[in-house]
Symmetry: C2
Subunit: 221 residues, 2 copies
């Protein structure tokens, strides 16, 4: 079987949260968000190499949290770079898997079914990502005006995003972007087609206090 590496990005310093701690360290039902995420990936993708990117200044805090919350899951910690792009590039240096996934540290609610769909599909596709439908009307802004667009033609993109190692390495070697929001768009620019599978609605990205409350609700169900 092909080997797997999972990069968990936790580069943010949580300005939007308005909290003392970065959002990935905030507690969700008694455990930090990032520990939930790490544990979930460990259980759902057994045998993977887990690589966590963290801002340099939080690495010590993280180690203390792992001790404090009794989390002994083996993982590598890589110092994040200036931008998300650099963090992933640093993490890729230590990844050994044939398949490399990238997952947001603040998405602790990815389901087992989503993970299975992703890893099943990556057998025959080189770049696979989870998406969900948009339930509300959508408009596109065009300088000063805007137009209604068909929401059925759009999808919200989640993570993990899963790639053949050569594909993501290639994308990160030939391109630089200071503001990429997901890896699939970079891989796409390198010429690879992106294959979509269904994500799960609960797999939200925790970026505001409301998101944290919603996540709490989903997690306690």
């Amino acid at each position: 079987m092909e080997t797997r590496s999972i990069i968990i990005t936790a580069g943010g310093i949580g300005k939007r949260m308005g909290a003392d701690q970065p959002k990935q360290f905030l507690e969700l039902l008694g455990r930090p968000v990032l520990i939930h995420t790490l544990e979930r990936l460990y259980h759902f993708v057994p045998g993977s190499q887990l690589v966590l990117t963290l801002p340099e200044q939080y690495i010590e805090d993280w180690k203390e949290l792992c001790t404090q919350y009794d989390c002994h899951i083996e993982h590598l910690v890589v110092a994040g770079g200036e931008e998300r792009y650099h963090s992933i590039k640093n993490a890729l240096e230590v990844c050994t898997g044939d398949i490399i996934a990238v997952h947001d540290g603040v998405r602790p609610l990815v389901s087992k079914a989503t993970i299975e769909r992703l890893f099943d599909a990556v057998v025959s596709h080189k770049a696979v990502i989870p998406v969900v439908e948009i339930k509300e009307s959508l408009r596109r802004i065009d300088h000063v005006t805007s137009q209604a667009v068909q929401r059925s033609a759009y999808r919200i993109v989640q993570t993990p995003q899963v790639f053949h190692a050569s594909v993501i390495r290639n994308a990160y070697n030939i391109h630089f972007h200071d503001a990429i929001t997901d890896d699939a768009s970079l891989v796409e620019e390198s010429g690879e087609a992106i294959y979509l599978v269904d994500g799960n609605e609960e797999n939200i990205k925790i970026t505001t206090p409301s998101d944290l409350a919603v996540a709490m609700l989903f997690l306690s169900k």
Copy 2:
């Protein structure tokens, strides 16, 4: 001052909810969703004519709910048509306001600030809608392929959508659509520009049991 009518659409029969009752009648902290919505609009837009569209078969149930939950807010009830389009058209027949707003019955969480932004803007614009930013990456589907698009160029559309009466009447007179998801797109097709104001994140459309749980959380804060 200009007079105001607010059409509250509650045409759905709630198949997605998997409940016995249509979703607008489900309880949110002890009161049906639709009663929350009605009460909120009554308080936030005082003096408005309130017009509710409901499927014919639910009109009696609704009247009983109003009695049961002690809701004595004056409002008209109009039988919904086959499609949302027909329901609004029926409701427009009885609207008397110079300004006509259309609001989803399953959005009980619109804020007072959103309402104020809308009605302030409609003084100088003929069609005004609330929108919020998209926090996650977005892709556009194009038959078998898909492409990343810039999320910053898109907005999620909410309600109430607020129009000069002549503008929405005109749009509904000259166009028919069997699958419109919002009034702004119809008004836009009639040649009017749509003015956007900030909505509020909590103003979600309740369409699934998860949404109901999230709404409960927002409402209890």
